[in-house]
């Protein structure tokens, strides 16, 4: 546990002290929420109903960008020889990757709180009870975990941190455009069926509109996103351990 806590502390210090990481993880989702809120929310004089529809997608947005920060973090550490250095200590791969998962879950929670509070300020009025809130939170944490897995896959296939930023868009763009607040139709509907963010956005949209968090549809979506997350995280860990660590 001492090892995991030390690594989590280090990663959180990185979040605070590295401006690029701080911007991507916390400021970017906040700015995005403010911009969309001003453009489409009640405060900006727009139709707040549009923002009501968009808000669940914005939560997913914040989680999706974890792919880039996770991939950057791993590749930067690898370039600096830090992964090798950690690899010659008794720290196991599970402890190392586990610490990253914990850190990114903490970051995801902070992101979600920021985006949720700013959405409320911008005129978002969710029709939700405590159970709905908890369920929405679980969905978004699963999406964040899924993003960590995709970040690991990106880090594995990237030769440098610059490449990691570019390659992360392979996973970010489809999820952004076909799996968040743009309603899929036709071909995009077929693509959306393979995107974790699609199930999360659909579920939290229903929950925020007053739907029961325990409805069969929601539970089905929870099952799908849980399975996708487990598969992607396991694949990410295996690929990174095999090809990406040194």
């Amino acid at each position: 546990m001492q090892r995991i806590l030390a690594l989590v502390k280090m990663e959180l210090l990185k979040l605070i002290r590295e401006p690029a990481i701080l911007f991507l993880n916390l400021l970017f989702p906040a700015i995005l929420t403010l911009v969309f809120g001003l453009a489409f929310g009640g405060i900006g004089g727009g139709d707040s109903a549009i923002f009501e529809m968009m808000a669940p997608g914005l939560f997913a947005y914040a989680c999706i960008f974890l792919i880039m920060t996770v991939a950057m973090s791993f590749t930067e550490d690898r370039e600096a020889g830090l992964l090798k250095r950690i690899n010659v200590t008794p720290t196991t791969s599970s402890q190392f990757i586990g610490s990253h998962i914990i850190t990114n879950m903490v970051i995801a929670v902070i992101q979600l709180v920021i985006v949720f509070l700013l959405s409320l300020v911008m005129g978002f009025q969710p029709n939700i009870d405590i159970f709905g809130f908890i369920m929405a939170f679980i969905f978004m944490l699963l999406l964040s975990l899924c993003s960590v897995g995709l970040g690991l896959i990106t880090a594995t296939i990237s030769k440098s941190s610059g490449a990691a930023v570019g390659l992360s868009f392979i996973f970010i763009l489809p999820q952004m455009f076909f799996g968040t607040f743009i309603e899929p139709s036709g071909v995009t509907e077929g693509i959306a069926a393979f995107l974790p963010s699609h199930y999360v956005t659909e579920a939290i949209k229903t929950i925020f509109n007053g739907g029961s968090p325990f409805a069969m549809e929601i539970l089905m979506e929870l099952g799908i996103i849980a399975l996708m997350t487990i598969g992607i995280v396991i694949l990410g860990i295996l690929l990174f351990k095999r090809f990406g660590k040194v």
Partner: protein, 319 residues
């Protein structure tokens, strides 16, 4: 008329005889040259054996593998027939070596000779293609976790977290070895004091000079009080004063009875610090002994001359 013809025939016959004699004489000269060439070739072969310039043909072995590979021995490191192949390239080619406990051993060799690959195998970063190695009595193929608990590694790259303070870096790695908090602080204080980084220890590593980062790199490698320390070119980029400080620092480690494996390009560093040195080239161990032994053996003034003599062919090829 008949008389004239007869005279001509005699003249021709004399001329032919003369030519025959000359040809015989030249043949004898050629035969002498051939003998001389053969003799020179033999001399070249003999000299090549004295100066092993072709490692692919002349292979050096310290001991027979069966003598070396004794798990109960007092050796800190035992390497047996170690081979590492990267696709077409053989980076390490059948090294056999024994490093005793408490020894400061220098691993020298030109760039790409196989030094770092050998160390990476010993610390568990690479798997050997063939052969085996024991570190602290544990097999690198089976007991890597036990090996990692007893070693300290100072890598070639200055691998520190730049956004962390010097002390935070040291604490992070101390915690990865699950060190007791008080002991960790005590050792960190001691090292920051002795390395001259005490004042800078509470500053972010981002603001450190190259030499300071190198020293921090070294402190991190030693924080867990390792029994066996691998120092991969620890003084690269240091100014002469910082390098001299680091030499003293390494010398002090030896007094603590640690086994130290040092790779360096600074031959004078190896000569000043090491009990024994091994020279690797083309992935093979081509020389082994104390600096004095090697200088005597190769009739050299210093270790650098030894190094140049036995790796010279490679340098000439590269030039």
């Amino acid at each position: 008329m008949v008389m004239k013809d007869m005279n001509n025939q005699e003249e021709m016959s004399d001329l032919i005889d003369g030519l025959k004699k000359e040809i015989n004489s030249k043949n004898n000269e050629i035969a002498a040259y051939i003998d001389k060439i053969e003799s020179l070739e033999q001399e070249i072969t003999r000299l090549q054996k004295l100066v092993p310039g072709e490692p692919s043909r002349i292979r050096f072995k310290t001991e027979k593998p069966e003598d070396v590979f004794d798990p109960d021995s007092e050796s800190a490191i035992i390497i047996k027939d170690l081979v590492k192949q990267f696709e077409e390239v053989t980076a390490v080619n059948g090294i056999n070596l024994e490093i005793k406990k408490g020894e400061l051993f220098g691993l020298l060799g030109p760039n790409g000779a196989g030094k770092t690959t050998t160390i990476n195998i010993l610390v568990g970063l690479l798997n050997p293609t063939e052969g085996s190695a024991l570190v602290g009595g544990y097999d690198v193929k089976k007991d890597l976790n036990k090996i990692k608990e007893m070693i300290g590694v100072c890598p070639q790259e200055a691998s520190v977290y730049k956004f962390l303070k010097g002390r935070e870096n040291v604490e992070l790695f101390g915690n990865l070895f699950e060190m007791d908090k008080n002991l960790l602080k005590e050792r960190a204080d001691k090292f920051f004091e002795s390395s001259g980084l005490k004042e800078a220890s509470n500053r972010k590593a981002k603001g450190y000079s190259g030499g300071m980062i190198r020293q921090l790199n070294l402190i991190i490698a030693l924080i867990n009080d390792p029994k066996i320390v691998f120092l991969d070119e620890p003084t690269v980029g240091m100014d002469p004063r910082a390098r001299r400080n680091t030499w003293n620092f390494i010398g002090d480690l030896k007094k603590e009875d640690k086994t130290i494996i040092l790779t360096t390009h600074y031959i004078e560093e190896a000569e000043a610090l090491c009990d024994r040195v091994g020279i690797i080239d083309y992935g093979e161990l081509i020389a082994l002994g104390t600096p004095k032994e090697l200088m005597e053996k190769h009739d050299a003034q210093d270790l650098e001359e030894v190094f140049m003599k036995i790796t010279g062919r490679r340098i000439l090829e590269g030039a």
